[in-house]
Amino acid sequence: MSTATINDSHAVGHHGDAHGHDHHHQSFITKYIFSTDHKMISKQYLITGIIMGCLGMGMSLLFRLQLAWPDETFPFLETLLGKWAKGGKLDPNYYMALVTIHGTIMVFYVLTAGLSGTFSNLLIPLQVGARDMASPFMNMLSYWFFFLSSVVLMSSFLVETGPASSGWTVYPPLSALEKAMPGSGMGTTLWLVAIILFIVSALLGGINYITTVLNMRTKGMSMNRLPLTIWAFFLTAVLGLLSFPVLLGAGLLLIFDRSFGTSFYLSDIHLNGVGALSNSGGSPVLYQHLFWFLGHPEVYIILMPALGISSEVISTNARKPIFGYTAMVISLLGISFLSFIVWGHHMFITGMNPFLGTMFMYVTLIIAVPSAVKTFNYLATLWKGNIRFTPAMLFAIGLVSMFISGGLTGIYLGNAALDIQLHDSYFVVAHFHLVMGSASIFGMFAGIYHWFPKMYGRMMNKTLGSLHFWLTFISAYLVFFPMHFMGLAGVPRRYYQFSLIPEFNIWMDVNIFITLAAILGGIAQLLFLYNFFNSIFRGPKASKNPWESNTLEWSTETKHIHGNWEGDIPTVYRGPHEYSRPDRELDYFPQYEIGDGEPEHYHAPATAPDTSYDGKKEKATTVFFSSFAHLFSLRRA
């Protein structure tokens, strides 16, 4: 049976034959589909995220073709899109649809669910030392709501009038009025349904993450010994829990306006082909307030897990403690708090009272301070390190670079005065693709390369990984850096074609260049896909702790078992970043390893006692109710 010992001092604590893992039969369905195991759910999130990512990336290449060669025809487009690309020329309505769904997919489906869903699920139980999530059943539901939501979103491509096309922010009245643009018909209805399902998924996941982190830490795992990944996931979940319901509200009101004749967002509208609408008294700006109340925290919901992952990866591979652990945590807390009061910086020129603009400008520039602190701490961590360039490390370094480049342009945009000119220009596109898009995707890749051995028990190819990194890194800069200058020259975003405005023709070469660079980026992702799927089946077998890392997940066996640890859950004796301690031979010191002269039993009790996990297949109903018990009992005996 269990051949493994957790570590020397804890091998004694086995339950011996109480383990039922090996003769514990699971059907294909319970194991791979309706699984309640957090590791399987994490893989489900990852694979779905990767598929959505490919779709999103493909869409961006399609509309980049249009921007680079507005006067050309591409016969394959007609084959692919039918009536939306008659004669091989992308229809402007469809261009908008692609931009909209690309944004939605990347922001919500890839960088929120794909990133935070994958790694919160994988790492929270493993790194805090828990058998599973507080509520495995809700966790499963969370994935399936996400899956359903993805299906609904993609199904809008099958609608006759096309998918939602009013931008990923779906501002009404454009998105509220079917006659304003074709995509605002059935397409937007599906978009809204998809987002509501998504919110349900995010909330179910978030409640779970928070509960698990607060209540299910193993012995010795006090909050100040949590790896920074966990801090990041935890705060991300808090942000989500507090802000997604507001988006839900915004979406519901929009549904009312669309279908039930209310006027929350509509007033004084005379629409071509319809006439004067009866709606009066509503305000489109209200929607924007509600949307950005989620929208701004959302960008940090996307970024923070990536920052957490890169902290862990950088510390491990620089073989150094992360510099300023406390400062890092305080920065995350600061960012989390501030991100709730800066939403108005997306609305400086909506006609909102200029005084409000002033206030939002002040708080927005304050939020740049903790961001700067984090950057300096990363740099200090690298200083005098002994850096191993694993693919994960490369991507983490790439993240820091992107975060600097994109963060600095935030200082322009956060300045209300400067934003007058920059708003909705390509400068904004450059800003958020660097700081959010690229940085977070890099964090996600760092996570995938780093924890792949934990997820699949095999190693990914390093050389391909390096190549993937450099191609992606270079292409990301080539694509997004020139966009700053286009924006500063007055080129607006979300334009189907620039050649109708003579002044923009000087940017034609740049547009072609960007598209070519984007294609290069696309090729690089194919390398990743090959490496990823090939390694799942054919990669070399991974050892238990391939990166010689400190955190708790590396104390588990490579083969996944329900309940994570064969015997007792290990006790934690110190913080997660004790690398290269001068008093030790080895350059790492796992959290779960007891050192000389350290007390055998650490005094901090586990937040959740380990009710010996027998791995027996529980009935779904039992799991469900027990998970609620877990959820609501803050203290369990």
């Binding site: 006067d71 025809t73 400062a327 708003h423």
Partner: protein, 510 residues
């Protein structure tokens, strides 16, 4: 033996693939060449509202050649991946044969880090020089634009310095401290004094920026506060997909407007009694027609559609058959009925509301002044150089955004909510042409996604002397009267009379 065989095979395959890809690419690039000359700079601009996108228009035979390029790109992508996958398999096999790792990952990556930093910085500097020269900076055509540009420059300088320092440290550290066998990293977990320092420094820098920013912002949004020169105000009206400007007529007063008054002949919804009356008559007629349609929906209308369908069927006109079928479906499943009912309801409500204004004496008097009659609606915006102008924005349908990049001016145009932007143009079109070339014109672009022709929603802006503006205005026709008959003073005039936008803004403030 087996491995060596495989290796040779794969190698040959890779070579073949590379060669065929190279040939394909070079062929197609030869045909096409990447030039931008043929792009439609001179394409005549079609009025945005009439603008119908027609893909057929732009396709000329020689352009379809480039489809080869696309196929080549596609094929190339696939081949590249195959090649790379093969190449890496090869390195795996060589590793197997020779028994050692072919490359030292750490060493290679470390040098690429250094190289990337140097090449990257060179590229950034090149970008600043080449594309930086193309941006709008220090060439503002408005008074506040000068402040704006200096604010921008300060931010640019500061962030550029920080950019170079932090990126240099990042890549240099990565290079310098790459893994070496036998070396141990420095155990250094925190330094609170350092944390304080690097919290404090950005905080101070940002405070400076934010204070400057606050000043600039105030000078822009409260531009009229400390100004005692000439002031104008114009209404800028946005609709899917175009712009119109409205000037007060000879009376110097802007007429009232209401979205409920908008009709084919009264595009901006001016409060002009005869037009509004005829709109009411029109609406009543439409209601009657809708009611008739409801009555005949399942009889004559359906029969008519059926007949159309049969006719189309006989002609094998499948497209027509499909669209007629859709209409038949709509009749049968009740959609059409719902539509008609909604339309009647909407129009009845509109009439009700219009009559409510007309029947309220006070409201009537303050709404239907004669000020609207002589308002001038134009297809261009003409601004007087050096005098302060307020653009009052109004949207007919959805949110648009009026962006005048050369004037560093932008404001959203929101239905149901008046917005405005005040600024002082300081560079005439003539002067700008001298700097930017004869073809240059100022434009106001739409900068908020607003539908299918969003990318072609613009209006020409001309800055010239006050005299020229007046002259131009004289050449334009007033909305509802012939120039000769324009009254010198409004017929109904009382003290409370205000321009419509003023009243609305007052209401909002209250």
């Amino acid at each position: 033996m087996n491995t060596i065989l495989k290796l040779t095979l794969k190698f040959t395959l890779a070579v073949v693939i590379i060669f065929s890809a190279a040939t394909l690419i070079s062929d197609s690039v030869d045909i096409q060449g990447i030039s931008t000359e043929h792009l439609s700079a001179e394409k005549p601009w079609v009025g945005a509202d009439e603008y119908q996108y027609d893909p057929g228009q732009t396709v000329t035979p020689e352009k379809t050649l480039s489809s080869k390029v696309n196929w080549a790109i596609l094929v190339f992508v696939v081949l590249m991946v195959l090649v790379l996958a093969n190449a890496f398999d090869i390195s795996k096999y060589t590793a197997k044969i020779t028994g050692r790792e072919t490359v030292n990952q750490n060493n290679v990556n470390k040098w690429i880090m250094l190289f990337f930093m140097i090449a990257g910085f060179a590229a950034v500097i090149w970008e600043y020089q080449t594309h930086g020269a193309m941006i709008l900076l220090n060439d503002s055509s408005s008074a506040h634009g000068v402040d704006y540009d200096s604010m921008f420059t300060i931010t640019l300088v500061l962030t550029t310095i920080v950019f170079f320092i932090t990126q240099a440290l990042l890549f240099y550290f990565s290079f310098r401290y790459a893994h070496q066998d036998g070396r141990k990293a420095l155990y250094y977990s925190h330094n609170n004094r350092l944390e304080v320092v690097w919290t404090f420094i950005p905080a101070v820098v940002l405070t400076v920026l934010v204070l400057r920013g606050h000043q600039t912002w105030k000078s822009v949004v409260y531009a009229e506060d400390n100004y005692n020169g000439k002031m104008h105000s114009i209404e800028v009206f946005a609709y899917q997909f175009g712009w119109k400007a409205r000037y007060a007529g000879d009376d110097g007063i802007m007429g009232n407007v209401d979205y409920k008054f908008i009709s084919g002949k009264n595009e901006l919804g001016l409060a002009y009694k005869p037009e509004v009356d005829s709109l009411v008559v029109d609406l009543k007629k439409q209601i009657a027609a809708d009611e008739a349609s409801i009555k005949n929906l399942n009889t004559t209308i359906l029969d008519g559609l059926m007949a159309d369908f049969t006719a189309a069927e006989n002609l094998r006109d499948y497209k027509n058959m499909e669209s007629v079928q859709k209409e038949i479906d709509a009749v049968k499943n009740g959609d059409r009925l719902d539509e008609l009912k909604a339309s009647i309801k909407r129009k009845t409500k509109q009439i009700e509301r219009i009559l409510a204004i007309q029947n309220d004496k006070k409201l009537f008097a303050s709404t239907f002044t004669s000020a609207a009659m002589d308002d001038i609606i134009t297809q261009e915006i003409h601004l007087a150089k050096d005098s302060l102008v307020t653009l009052n924005f109004r949207s007919k349908d959805i949110i648009h955004s009026a962006w005048l990049p050369h004037f560093r001016a932008q404001m959203n145009v929101v239905p149901g909510m008046p917005t405005k932007f005040t600024f002082r143009p300081t560079k005439s079109t003539e002067e700008a042409k001298k700097e930017r070339g004869e073809e240059f014109e100022y434009y106001l672009y739409c900068n908020k996604i607003c539908g299918v022709s969003h990318y072609n929603m613009k209006i020409k802006v001309v800055v010239e002397s006050q005299e020229k503006v007046n002259e131009w205005l004289k050449s334009q026709q007033p909305a509802f009267i012939k120039r000769e008959m324009a009254p010198v003073a409004p017929a109904i005039m009382n003290d409370t009379l205000k321009t419509s936008t003023d009243t609305i803004q007052k209401m909002v403030v209250r």
